[in-house]
Symmetry: C2
Subunit: 359 residues, 2 copies
DNA sequence: CTGAAAGCGCTTACAG
DNA sequence: CTGAAAGCGCTTACAG
């Protein structure tokens, strides 16, 4: 019996197949890759030998020779484990909500094209992130980089020498990017809060200050509120982040300073909204009766919260899939037709805005 | 300006570095890999050339030559998108809750060892899963396979020729496996429900019938109930699955048939518990007053549910990290000392069992 | 249509 | 300590 840990006999090579089939390795390669069209007999003999030996080509040899690894890398951002209370999920777990649905979209699209996915994360404050990313780049044909993974200039530098698509991040003159229609999303949110509910004071609870998505959402909120003739508060006091503890901390800070809350709080994303709702609940402030809260993303748990979160749905998987498709065209065609792709979003009306509970 | 899509100038090779440094490629390789110990002067010249050229070795060439790809693959199971109600997350999104935390654990451990992670999923009913997995295997040095990805015999066959670690799956004589202590977890749950709450009737809402974890949990529940001298219901009617819609469907079926519910339902995992709680709520059955519910896993959203879910915490990330470590020893040492690693679990007392709300 | 041969970019005995 | 050379397992012009 050959148990685990025993030296398994080396996998067959293309030479073994050629010998068994009585043809040259070139022929084996051709039938396997469907190039030219081999004589039926040659084809059959090769295929039979392949089946008998269980031959599967070595990826590294193929990559080196064909100058194509058929692999793309995706780099996402991880935040260090924080000291969340016992029983609470770490922000790391939360992060998964969005980033992993995105990566899943990439994986599915990559698989469709016969590419494999190399996944790597970068810690929030990591110093040698760039060199690790460059090493990763040499293992694949192109890279998809999440938001906040690399500083804009470093991203641009990398993109100048290597195919890179950024996900919801900055788009440099050299890179290609995919994002959702932040402005339309915020407009529908503000329109709903002001129009349907008649709220006159809103605030924007901001995400990470260096995130393009966050800035776009803020600006759109400001513009939409101005257009509706209502007041929108934002600024340093309303600076939170993308995680639930960021949202909770910001609300705690505001309340600790005795700041009066507006009628509705537009949060940068669902996670921050979750934290904000928890912080409000702890103070006995009822959502949505006293203060309405909205999110952005529509992560899986948004509809599981009580009250259910009114938010804007991003086509998260599709965002990932689109990123792959752009990257593939960058890799194979040498260029991507669109330099930036903006995907539409959808307003998701639930309860946290003040709408009645749905059955 | 070299924009995206323009043919970037080919990355420098080791020959370019050697020429720039005035040494042989062998020397370059040696200083970069720290083998032997080059003369300081040689070292400096190489390092300087490397820095100037921005040289990073090609992964495929390295892999082919060194016979080590420094890459491991992980394969997890995806369930097809189902027609969940609007606003509801697809079971695919839910799946992420557990599988991705696991993968994250693998990634972190792999990174520590300088390995990269190749991620691939297999669709629930996919026919050519095995061949895709074999192709993936040829792109890396070893594979980590989640539960329910491959039939036991195929897994065993693969493991006989290639380093494989199974995660919470069957362990064949040839593969190595990692799982958590299911029995201890169920014992603590039954002990709590029977001991602290005095419940006399329990039921086990089963997960997928071919999952080793599910079978172990069921058997442990049966044994623990018998030991406590109370009744535990299980069987075809209580067959659910690992997703929330499985749990909801099972409860709906039971209630539709007018089956009387026990005092407490032990669910195979958190997701099924979530679905069960939702189905009960729709019928106006209060959890935990009328029926207590427990889960297993302690996924991130377990404490966000209302009532908060009493469950058993698996060290999910650690499970993944351990799988990598076993795999690495299989790859480098040619064998893994332990053939099966069982990680401890922790009882997490929250509200769905009937315990009072915590502050 | 098929084979012999070169070459992809590294690592690593083998000499010196 | 260092260099010349072989070799990893494929793909792909180049001849025939």
């Amino acid at each position: 019996m050959t148990g685990a840990g025993q030296a398994e006999r080396a996998a067959p090579t293309i030479y073994d197949v050629a010998r068994a089939a009585g043809v040259s390795i070139a022929s084996v390669s051709r039938v396997l890759n469907g190039t030219r069209n081999p004589r039926p007999e040659t084809r059959d003999r090769v295929l039979q030998a392949v089946a008998e030996l269980g031959f599967v080509p070595d990826g590294a040899a193929r990559a080196l020779s064909a100058r194509l690894k058929e692999m793309v890398g995706v780099v996402y951002r991880r935040v260090p484990l924080d000291a969340a209370g016992p029983g609470a999920p770490s922000s790391e777990d939360e992060n998964l909500q969005f980033a992993d649905v995105l990566n899943r979209g990439v994986e599915v699209a990559a698989r469709r094209s016969g590419f494999s996915l190399l996944i790597s994360s970068v810690d929030a404050g990591e110093r040698n992130a760039e060199s690790r990313i460059r090493a990763l780049a040499r293992k694949c044909d192109g890279l998809i980089v999440h938001d906040l993974v690399l500083e804009p200039d470093k991203l641009g530098h990398l993109a100048r020498q290597f195919p890179v698509v950024s996900l919801a991040g900055v788009t440099t003159p050299s890179s290609v990017g995919v994002r959702c229609d932040n402005a339309a999303g915020m407009r529908s949110l503000v329109g709903h809060l002001a129009g349907e509910h008649g709220y006159r004071t809103l605030a924007y609870l901001a995400g990470f200050p260096d995130s393009p998505d966050n800035l776009a959402r803020r600006d759109a909120a400001v513009a939409a509120a101005a257009a509706a003739g209502i007041k929108l508060i934002e600024g340093p006091q309303w600076q939170a982040g993308y995680f639930s503890h960021d949202g909770a901390r910001a609300i705690d800070g505001l309340l600790g300073h005795g700041t009066a809350l507006p009628r509705a709080v537009l949060c940068a994303n669902d996670l921050a909204a979750l934290g904000a709702m928890q912080a409000l609940a702890r103070r006995g402030i009822d959502v949505p009766r006293d203060v309405a809260v909205t999110g952005f993303d529509d992560i899986p748990l948004a509809h599981l919260l009580r009250p259910q979160l009114t938010t804007v749905r991003q086509p998260i998987q599709e965002l990932g899939a689109t990123a792959f498709e752009l990257l593939e065209s960058l890799i194979t065609a040498g260029q991507a037709t669109p330099r930036e792709v903006v995907l539409p979003v959808q307003f998701i009306q639930r309860e946290s805005c003040g709408c009645p509970q749905r059955s």
